[in-house]
Amino acid sequence: MTAGTKLDARTLRRDFPIFEQEIHGRPLAFLDSAASSQKPRQMLEAMDRFYETSYANVHRGVYELAERATAALELSREKVRAFLNAPHAREVIFVRNATEAINLVAYAWGLWNLRPGDVVLVTELEHHSNFVPWQFIAGKTGARLAMIPLDERGELDLSGLDAVGRDGAVRVVATNLVSNSLGTINPVARLASWAHEQGAIFVCDAAQAAPHLRVDVQALGADFVAISGHKMCGPSGVGALWGRSELLLRMDPFLTGGHMISSVRLERTSWGELPHKFEAGTAPMAEAVGLGAAIDYLEAVGLEAIEAHEHELVAYALGRLGEVPGITLYGPPADRRAGIVSFNLEGIHPHDVAQILDLQGVAIRAGHHCCQPLMHRLGVTATNRASFYLYTIPEEIDQLVEGLHTVRKVFA
């Protein structure tokens, strides 16, 4: 399949063993891919193959298996580099997930560079992963945390930016590319260039974007970009941070210990080269191999085809959900969002909605989606969220809508 071709979700679905079962006697309608995606057989087999044929610790032994394992890890690094269009593979650091990636930046850059009076600017749409680390480090350094607000449509309101920048104190701008709650696609390239005009670094949480649309770190103009493997057909336990080498080279490590050194004496330890300086301890080797295989899978399907498929599903879902009495839909129009729909049913708590849906084989997320500032803005404590991926078919959305009618009957 070449990029740009329409994808065939029904065929792709056969690559995902999870769908070979029923849940509560119904076909599984899995509408929670924004929390974590399901896994294709190709990725699972790549991890198995690595364990069965090439497993040893990397960057240590000089024997055949260690060489194979090292080559496999570094090949995955190269795949992540190409996937993100990063200039250099040494700028790709394997971490556990996007949260750890952002903590790495907050600690290894923020803790040493922020001063009292500096401003760290996040958005009202942020996942806690790109909010709490900055709030914590701002607290430690005396910097101030400020927030770009949302407009009524659930998109960022940039009208106050110049006022925020007037004092020339903005040092960090941290936003997501795609909101995990509303699916909003944020104007990241514009924010990155504004951040640089302020003399600030720009940190992009792309965890919710990378599975669904092309993330090009150079086109975005970001300084740091974080992704999580588990949201993009890869295994849990591995993610990546891309950072510009000029910045990475000037930073101290985040975690210290094995592997990340060049020499250790009692008096002093000198740090290893990039990326090893930031990869203390034994790497998530098989997980990184799995992430590489997931990238191969996504590239074969085509990111452009995935994005187009999700736009179709969102448009269909917004139309079908609009038929349900008492529903409130949150977020921007279909053409400006990724495959995520958040909603509430009048008078029925999301937990109860999700529970009754589950009994009909429909898996959605109910809660605050790690976005309590956003929930507060929407005036709710929680929402229901249905999210789609390359394997989602319209019948799953039909099953959701049918399920919501049942929910209303139970609570009538």
């Binding site: 708590h349 999301p350 937990h351 009994l359 009909q360 109910a366 809660g367 609570f411």
Partner: protein, 146 residues
């Protein structure tokens, strides 16, 4: 409702307590109060307690806040169960007693919803009377409890 699974979980008594919660409201100048959060969904509940003249027997429990049917119904039932008991009796009340009253199978995730009211009530009693903290919070006495 034709599916027995729904009936089992959302049985009439749960829906009745959810739609007509007992003890819903605020006690002004309460003798004990606390706020609790369910981190799973961000739901919040505030619990208010008024003691009888002996200062030990619970005269009234009220609650406010938003929540799912399970947490609201469980808290509603709890306000009835706590009335007339002493602070110590409620502080040491086994969670199974409330679960039996709720009478539906709960997954570990939904158990948190069901326990939100009881946990918060125990915190309120701890703050006012120094009774034991609920399971899971024990040992946190040194920390500030909201």
């Amino acid at each position: 409702m034709s599916d027995p699974a729904f009936e089992q979980m959302y049985r009439e008594v749960i829906l009745d307590h959810y739609k007509n919660p007992r003890g819903h409201g605020v006690i002004e100048d309460a003798d004990a109060e606390a706020e609790g959060q369910n981190p799973l969904c961000g739901d919040e509940v505030s619990i208010y307690v008024a003691f009888a003249e002996d200062g030990e027997t619970i005269d009234e429990v009220k609650f406010s806040g938003r929540g799912c049917a399970i947490s609201q119904a469980a808290t509603s039932m709890l306000t009835e169960m706590a009335q007339g008991r002493t602070a110590t009796e409620v502080a040491t009340m086994d969670k199974d007693e409330l679960l039996d009253e709720i009478g539906i199978p709960l997954t570990p995730v939904r158990l948190k919803c069901a326990m939100l009211g009881l946990t918060t009530l125990k915190v309120a009693l701890h703050k006012a009377k120094g009774t034991p903290l609920p399971e899971g919070l024990a040992g946190l006495d040194e920390l500030e409890l909201t």
